[in-house]
């Protein structure tokens, strides 16, 4: 009933859908960088959508099991690891990730889910505050994680869902709540050329290099909530895309917000990757989310 970590990979954390409901007390949401791949992996092994699984970053782990389980891996693709299908693991059949093929983050769902303690309603790991997950930290070799009882029998042999989109670097945005803190042409500037994800990027956010976004007046605002996907711009003019481990509030003006349907694609970006931002309409944003939801529901109801 245990998964043993023989090799942890670069940054592997336990994540459910996030710690919702405590942001008013300063508790960040955390959760997966790519919620779609998270949901898909859980659906394929018949887990509940909020089951805790492993988020793998850039280099994969080596995992051993003490009993028979079904596993699904979604999101980033790796050699030697079947993508988006259910496969069996056992004490005799460990899961050994090969080199990365594409994408940045893979989601490893194990039937029964990872049964770490629930902290404030969630098993998600928030790295900056060392909350939740396995001892509040990324996994290390030698860790042993408890697994829950599998629901039994219901696996999706093949999801029929295609791999990562080739347009992964295009992210649709809506104008942000402090759009008026920037020059009149700022949204045009944002769309004028690609931004590069800097090395100082992590689960909190991505620092981006590209066309500068000058403010009209001060960059600082009276702090307010910082939703995932917000593009905030400090006085340097270099934007930061806020991701899963962001703080609950922040004091920089936000020029735009990545639409919910495209945040999972942002979660598949790594330092060095490029992003092209495209402004869309609120109706487009909701339609894209609806289409994504229909795809996920089709797998979950298989």
């Amino acid at each position: 009933m245990i998964v043993r970590v023989n090799r942890a990979g670069l940054l592997t954390t336990v994540q459910d859908r996030g710690r919702w409901g405590y942001q008013s007390r300063g508790v960040p949401v955390a959760g997966p960088m790519d919620l779609v791949s998270h949901r898909l992996a859980n659906a394929i092994v018949g887990n509940d959508a909020n089951s805790a699984l492993l988020e793998v970053t850039l280099t994969g782990p080596q995992l051993e099991f003490t009993d028979d389980r079904m596993v699904a891996v979604s999101g980033a693709e790796f050699e030697n690891v079947p993508a988006r299908v259910a496969f069996a693991v056992s004490p005799a059949r460990p899961l050994i990730f090969g080199p990365r093929l594409r994408g940045a983050r893979a989601y490893v769902a194990i039937s029964g889910g990872i049964d770490v303690p629930v902290v404030l309603g969630s098993r998600a790991t928030h790295l900056p505050s060392a909350m939740g997950g396995f001892e509040g930290r990324a996994l290390k070799s030698g860790d042993e994680l408890p697994l829950g009882p599998p629901k039994g029998g219901h696996y999706v042999p093949t999801s029929g869902v295609s791999g990562l989109s080739r347009t992964i670097g295009t992210l649709r945005v809506l104008p942000g709540p402090q759009r008026d803190r920037f020059a009149a042409d700022a949204l045009d500037v944002l769309q004028s050329a690609p931004y590069r994800v800097n090395a100082e990027s992590n689960r909190v956010g991505y620092r981006l290099s590209g066309p500068q976004l000058p403010h009209v007046g001060e960059a600082d605002i009276i702090s307010d909530a910082t939703p995932m996907g917000s593009i905030q711009v400090p006085s340097s003019g270099e934007p930061i895309l806020l991701m899963a481990d962001r703080q609950t509030t922040g004091g920089y003006a936000k020029i735009a917000t990545v639409i919910s349907a495209d945040i999972p694609a942002a979660g598949q970006l790594a330092p060095g990757d490029e992003i092209r931002f495209v402004v869309c309409s609120p109706a487009d944003a909701v339609a894209a989310l609806k289409a994504q939801e229909d795809m996920l529901l089709a797998v979950e109801r298989t």
Binding site: W20, G21, Y22, Q23, S24, R25, G26, V27, P28, V29, V119, L120, P128, S129, M131, L174, G176, P177, I222, S223, D224, A225, P227, G229, S230, Q247, T248, T249, G250, K254, T257, V258, I259, S260, P282, A285, V286, L289, K290, E293
Partner: protein, 226 residues
């Protein structure tokens, strides 16, 4: 309330007058509680800040105009009853100079003595204006202008848990060891965030808070117990 604006496709922001003012933050806290109490099925989280309330929602369960209409009605409705009266929370503080290494610079800022810094800091009732930065960190105001010293130019890499800091018009308690740039004037044995308590959070937005000076011996004893 002045307006409701979207913050992406799954958050709307109820905004109030644009300044830091305990009365405005109190109004935001009341609206946030009203939104939470309404238990709107599509709402996932409610996040009050200094002058705003962010409402996180599922855009597949409701559409934004419908939600904004509902929130407008909630925000404009006077609260059905007075906000449940919460007592002023008393926070014991030891203001010894090794626990408050920035007492001299705060005193120099205001041209007052260190004893006057302590008297000014502990002489008023503050209000929790916003909780953020890290779990349980309450931004409180308003600090007397004579001791409202700005942040350090160079933040400390590690501020000990329980440290009491000042940053311009605001004061706060570091809930856990963290980097920080606020000027430190003392330390409390009280834990603003403690998972071992039934309610891990000491503060709610809008709460009243008063700092009470204590002697070193009491600090040491209570700090070792908590």
């Amino acid at each position: 309330m002045t307006r409701i604006v979207p913050s992406g496709d799954s958050v709307v922001l109820i905004e109030f007058e644009e300044r830091i003012d305990p009365a405005i933050s109190a109004a935001a806290a009341v609206v946030a509680e009203a939104v939470e109490a309404a238990k709107i099925p599509a709402v996932r989280d409610v996040v009050p800040a200094y002058r705003s309330v962010a409402v996180y929602f599922d855009p597949l369960q409701t559409d934004q105009p419908t939600l904004i209409r509902r929130l407008t009605a909630l925000a404009e409705q006077p609260p059905a009853r007075e906000r449940a009266g919460r007592d002023v929370i008393e926070i014991p503080v030891c203001y010894d100079s090794d626990l408050g290494p920035d007492l001299p610079s705060v005193a120099a800022f205001g041209g007052v003595t260190e004893a006057e810094v302590i008297a000014l800091h502990s002489g008023v009732t503050y209000q929790v204006l916003m909780i953020g930065f890290m779990p349980g960190f309450a931004y409180m105001g308003t600090v007397d202008s004579r001791i409202a010293a700005p942040r350090l130019e160079k933040p400390r890499p590690r501020v000990p848990r329980g440290s009491i800091g000042i940053a311009k018009g605001q004061t706060g308690i570091y809930p856990g060891d963290a980097p920080g740039g606020w000027r430190l004037i003392g330390r409390t044995p009280v834990r603003p965030f403690d998972m071992s308590r039934a309610d891990p959070f000491l503060f709610r937005p809008g709460d009243g808070v008063r700092f009470v000076p204590i002697a070193r011996a009491e600090f040491e004893q209570r700090d070792s117990e908590s």
